[in-house]
Symmetry: C2
Subunit: 240 residues, 2 copies
């Protein structure tokens, strides 16, 4: 085949379902959903069931599943965890199937259901993810989750970091302006990533709620080599 | 009042009508619509009537109006002009009202109709535009027209250039990641703008059709001090 296409999507509102049928879609939502999911797999979770509604999450809870559920930064009263990666410790998740309530995330998973595979990306698994993507002969979409459909910088920067690794192989081509912008923004950010991310809107939102303690961790490269993937609507370890 | 809010919208698909009621909205579509419109006003056009459909454009033509109408880069057979700024010469437009057929543009004008004012921005009128915006005490949205709802680099770069002038006054505040990204991309592009724009997808599309001769012109700062504004659905000179 010719070169694989590499595209970047800055918001669910910009995702083109028909364009991306058959591609690998990498979901990126580093503050904090995809960082938390990567952490849970590193710490031995067996699978994560994403659910959209609070009622559904409660129902799983009543059947004995541990549940992660937050709304606007606050842990729901029946839940076992919030969305911080620091919650998904080995003691809490190893060997378990947990439920993750996320309105945004389940919408994205449904949207990307025409994809060849949907995988979870973050700085925490970036090198393993890039190596795996390169091993596949597929077009790839870096799908930034955004916040309430808005463009956000932190996911864009992470997309740029992934794109840089893929483009370096010469196996990919891109004429997608979003990918070019992500690469350029990453080139500005990478020399002092923590300082760069200090200005993003989501950092301000998390700081206002005292939830910004995990940001430096979320910017750490290669904490894990796990690549969570959606199979039958459930997140599992890609090597299984 | 406190500081004015400055926001940037990367695509019509990301425009939030309710959020921007009462703001000044600057429409940016530099390759080539807003550059062509600025050129027409510099060359003495009296007003420009934006219309959505080909049928409507034809109807105006039959009533004696000069019509600019292109689809996918090709002049429609009944039209007097294509969309290149080079078509809107003084000989052709001075003292006239012309009709501009644009599917994308009319959609954007309707979308932004809750705005305080809708004005047309490009590099060609950037300093006059910035000076005028600063003279108003209004929140401002830089609305990149995109291409088929996609993010594009050239409009983002122009938004960054405008944002730089506004932010420099200390009258504006922004916690909008899109504006921060536009400012950063402009900081990379501004030292050699023509070279930077050489990589954008729209340049490739225009080049493939032999329509890229106007790009250097579209990147020229301050060709005009005209600020086209929508009044009653028609583009007129802002000072009138």
């Amino acid at each position: 085949m010719g070169k694989r296409k590499l595209e970047t999507c800055f918001s669910p509102a910009l995702y083109e379902v028909d364009q991306h049928a058959g591609s690998i879609v990498v979901i990126i939502d580093i503050l904090r959903a995809t960082s938390a999911i990567c952490t849970a797999f590193e710490n031995g979770v067996v699978s994560i069931i994403p659910v959209a509604g609070v009622a559904e999450a409660k129902e799983y809870k009543s059947r004995g599943f541990p549940v992660a559920a937050e709304r606007d930064g606050f842990i729901l009263d029946f839940a076992d965890f919030g969305n911080s990666p620091f919650n998904f410790t080995r003691e809490k998740v190893e060997g378990k199937t947990i439920v993750y309530s996320t309105t945004n995330g389940t919408g994205i998973i449904n949207m990307a259901s025409s994809a060849y595979k949907i995988v979870v990306g973050s700085f925490l698994n970036i090198s393993a993810l890039a190596t795996w993507l390169i091993s596949q002969e597929k077009d790839t979409v870096l799908f930034c989750a955004g916040w309430k459909n808005r463009f956000n910088l932190e996911d864009t920067i992470c997309a740029g970091a992934i794109a840089e690794k893929l483009i370096a192989t010469s196996l990919y081509s891109t004429i997608c302006d979003s990918t070019l912008a992500a690469l350029d923004l990453w080139s500005l950010a990478k020399h002092d990533l923590n300082r760069y991310i200090d200005k993003v809107a989501q950092r301000t939102r998390l700081r206002d709620k005292g939830l910004d303690d995990c940001i430096d961790f979320c910017l750490t490269a290669d904490f894990t080599d796990k690549i969570p993937v959606i199979k039958n609507g459930v997140l599992v370890d890609n090597i299984l």
